[in-house]
Amino acid sequence: MGSINWRLTLKISSLAVLLAIFCAVPLWNKEYITMVFMLIFLYMSLGHMWNLLAGYAGLVSLGQQIFIGIGGYSLAVITELYQLPWAVGLAIGGLLAVIFAMVISQPIFKMRGVYFTIGTWIVAEALGVFFSNWSYVRYARGFNITVSYRMSTTEVYYLALAVGVASMALVYVLLRSKLGLALMAMRDNESAAETMGIELYKTKLKCFLIAAFVTGITGGVLYLYIAFISPSAAFGIDWTVAMVFMVIIGGIGTIEGPIIGAVFFVLIKQFLYDYPGISLIILGVLAIVIILVAPKGIVGTLNDRYGWELLSPRRRG
C-alpha cells in the first residue's frame, strides 16, 4: 500500500511539474516555440481521438475532417456572421459536431470495415462540395476569421493547452473506467467481448460521439490560429492523414502513442516547413516502414521490450 501511495505521489507531482512547465512556455517569449507547442497539443488531441476510434473501437475512420470542418466553420460563422464571442463559436462547433455525428451514425454504422472507412471519407468530401455550393457560408470563398487577429499566440496557446490536457485526461479516465474495459476487450477480440456481455454497437457509438465532440472543438481552436477557412481545406483529407500518421508512428491502441506521434509529426512538419510536400513524404515512408517492421509503433514496441508504460490503465491483482 505504502509503495503504491509513493508511486502515486511521484506521478501526480511530476505531472504537476510538467503542467507548470507547459503553462510557463509563453513566458519564454519566443512566439515560434509557443506556436510549436500549441500545434503539438492540438494535434495530440486529434491523434487521441483517432486512436480512440481506430485503436480501440475498431472504427478506422478517414472522415474525421468532417468534425474539424464543422468546428472551424461554426467558429467562422458565429464570429463573422453573428459577431458573437469565439467561445460561443467553439461551444457550438463541438455541439454541432456531436449532432452531426449522431445523425450520420445510423447509416454509417451499417457500413462495416473498409466500407465504414471510405464511407466516412465520402461524407467528408460531400460536405466539402456542399459547403462550396452554400451561399450561407460564402461558397468556396470561405471566411477570414477576424477574431483571431485580435488574439495573441499566447491566448490561443492556453486554449490549445487546455484542449490537449483535457483530451489526454479524457482518454485516460475513459480507459480506466468501465467503458475502457470494454474498449480494451473489443480492441483485442470483438466476438469474445460480445459474449462477455459488451454491447459493441453502443460502445462504438459512444466513442464516435466523444471523438466528434473533441475533434470539433479542436478544429475550432485550430482555425482560431489559422484565421482563414475554406471548404476544401477544412474538409480535406490532410487532417486525417495527420491523425493516421501520428497514431501509427506513436503506437496504435496505446495511450501514449498519440503524444509521441504528435511531437514527431509537428516537429518534422515545422522543421520542413518550407517544403510541405517533403514532410508528408517522409512521414508517409516512416508510417509504412513502421507498419511493416514495428506495427505497434514506437510506444507499443518499447512497451513490449521494456514493459515501459507511462500512463497505465492497468488494474493490478
Binding site: 480494451m184 483485442d188 477480440n189 469474445a192 467481448a193 456481455g197 492497468r314 491483482g317
Partner: protein
C-alpha cells in the same frame, strides 16, 4: 424439476449444408450434460446458436422458461448463459485479472470493485493466481483454456457451455478441469460440456448426448450411451482418444 434450458426442434442450414436437423433436448438444473459426436457433427454450431452468435433456421430455445431464440448475444450473457470458445479467444493485451474483470463487470453486472473481488476468487479456483498479472497473450494452451472457463464463470452463469476445454490437454491437466467443473456444478450451475475425450465424459457428466450429422442420436446415462449401438457405430474406426 423444470429444465433450465429447453432446445426444441432446432435446425440450421448453410446453403445446402444442413448442419442441425431438428435437434431437441433439455438440460436440467445442476446437471452436467456431456455432448459427444464426430468432427463436423455440428456441436460448435449448436453452441453458437445457444449463445446467439448464429440464428437457427427453425426451432426455439427456452432458458428458465423464457423464449430466448431472438435475444441478442449480450442479453443472453446477462441472463446467465456463459460459454467458452473451442479455440480460446483471450483479450491478449489485457492481463488475466483484467480478462476476468471484464466479464464480471459487463456479463455479471457488477461494479468494478466487486468484479475485482470475484475475479480474484475465480482466478484462484482455476489455478491461475500465480499468473494473475500476466498478459493473456503470453499464456500457454492449458492456461488459456482455464482463462476461458474463468471468464465464463465471472458472468455468474446459470448455465455454462463448454466447448472442448479438455481437448489437447494431458491426463493430469484434464483431472484439474474435471475438478473445476464439479465445483461449478456444486454451486448449482448447469453445464453443457462438449468433448471428444470419451473417458472424461464418462467420469465428469451426469448424462451424455451423442450428436451425429446434426441429430440427437442417443441420450442417456454416460455408461449406457457409451456402450450403445448407435455410438459404437458412429465411432467405429475412430479410436477412443
Amino acid at each position: 424439476m423444470k429444465a433450465v434450458l429447453q432446445i426444441q426442434d432446432l435446425s440450421i442450414s448453410f446453403g445446402n449444408n444442413h448442419v442441425l436437423k431438428s435437434l431437441t433436448f433439455d438440460v436440467m438444473p445442476k446437471e452436467v450434460l456431456g455432448v459427444i459426436g464426430p468432427n463436423g457433427a455440428g456441436k460448435t454450431v449448436m453452441l453458437n446458436i445457444l449463445t446467439g452468435t448464429l440464428q437457427p433456421t427453425k426451432g426455439k430455445i427456452f432458458f428458465q422458461g423464457e423464449n430466448i431464440t431472438h435475444k441478442s448475444i449480450t442479453e443472453r450473457c446477462r441472463m446467465g448463459v456463459g460459454r467458452t470458445f473451442q479455440v480460446p479467444r483471450p483479450f491478449e493485451k489485457m492481463t488475466v485479472f483484467e480478462n476476468v474483470i471484464v466479464a464480471g463487470v459487463y456479463g455479471g453486472g457488477l461494479v468494478e470493485k466487486e468484479a475485482q473481488k470475484r475475479a480474484r476468487g475465480i482466478i484462484d479456483k482455476i489455478g491461475l493466481s500465480p499468473k494473475i498479472n500476466w498478459f493473456a497473450g503470453k499464456l500457454g494452451l492449458l492456461d488459456r483454456k482455464r482463462l476461458e472457463i474463468g471468464r465464463a464463470l465471472a458472468i455468474n452463469p446459470k448455465i455454462l457451455l463448454l466447448d472442448e476445454v479438455a481437448g489437447g490437454l494431458t491426463e493430469s491437466e484434464v483431472v484439474e478441469i474435471l475438478g473445476v467443473v464439479q465445483a461449478v456444478k456444486k454451486q448449482g450451475v448447469s453445464v453443457v460440456w462438449i468433448e471428444h475425450v470419451l473417458k472424461t465424459m464418462r467420469e465428469g457428466t451426469d448424462r451424455v448426448l451423442c450428436l451425429a450429422e446434426g441429430r440427437n442420436i442417443v441420450c442417456g446415462l454416460p455408461e449406457e450411451v457409451m456402450s450403445s449401438k448407435e455410438v459404437l457405430d458412429t465411432y467405429l474406426g475412430v479410436d477412443e482418444r
